[in-house]
Symmetry: C2
Subunit: 102 residues, 2 copies
DNA sequence: CCATTTCACTTTGATTGGCAAAGTAAATTC
DNA sequence: GAATTTACTTTGCCAATCAAAGTGAAATGG
């Protein structure tokens, strides 16, 4: 068995919540705080910290604005984040393929 | 996007180290402590706790014996562990497929 | 032989990380 | 104008990871 893919899994992405976030962001162009929270049924606090983690990694860009006199936080994947996610998915693919071929 | 696969990922398996362990165990019939440690380049302490975690979950069976007058700990997947791993891999497959089809 | 080292683990703090309860500020409702 | 709702952020707790140190038995070296 090849252990490389496991060792190379990006810790920042390899977490249920953040993996789901990255997948959502990769699928759509931009997603709001409330959309993320409701779609992934996360608590507000939990989501805030995950967003910050990904932001500090340079994986997502966060835009804060106002809409209908209410704060609106939207997230998008940065090119760096998209690349990291793509690489991560490739590793997952290897892991799946590996375990499916005995 | 379907968020179900993410939410259902088994926490006990979804950790780099333990995922690698489970994959190794799924591939071979039984693996020794030292093999696991060396193959996955883990520290001893780290490996012990991961083994215990999986054992307490009923995912791996641990056998302690002696060989050449030295302790020998070998791990195997239980049927429960095999089922859990299989389910986990199926979810990974869904996640990969999902992200590959825009 | 006795001391030291090696081997195969286990136990132990220490740091990190995830998570939700509580907090904040502005707008809305009653 | 008091209470509630919305959209977050901050704080604190608890669990989990990780490696350094510890253990006990065997092998090695002087």
């Amino acid at each position: 068995m090849n252990t490389e893919p496991f060792l190379n899994l990006d810790r920042l992405i390899h977490e249920k919540g953040r993996l789901a976030m990255m997948s959502l962001l990769a699928a759509s162009t931009e997603v709001s705080f409330t959309e993320l929270r409701d779609t992934l049924s996360m608590t507000d606090g939990n989501l805030t910290t995950h967003i910050r983690t990904l932001q500090e990694a340079g994986y997502v860009a966060v835009t804060k604005s106002f809409q209908n006199n209410r704060p609106l936080t939207t997230c998008t994947l940065t090119p760096k984040g998209r690349a990291a996610f793509s690489a991560y998915i490739d590793l997952l693919e290897q892991i799946v393929r590996q375990s499916k071929t005995p």
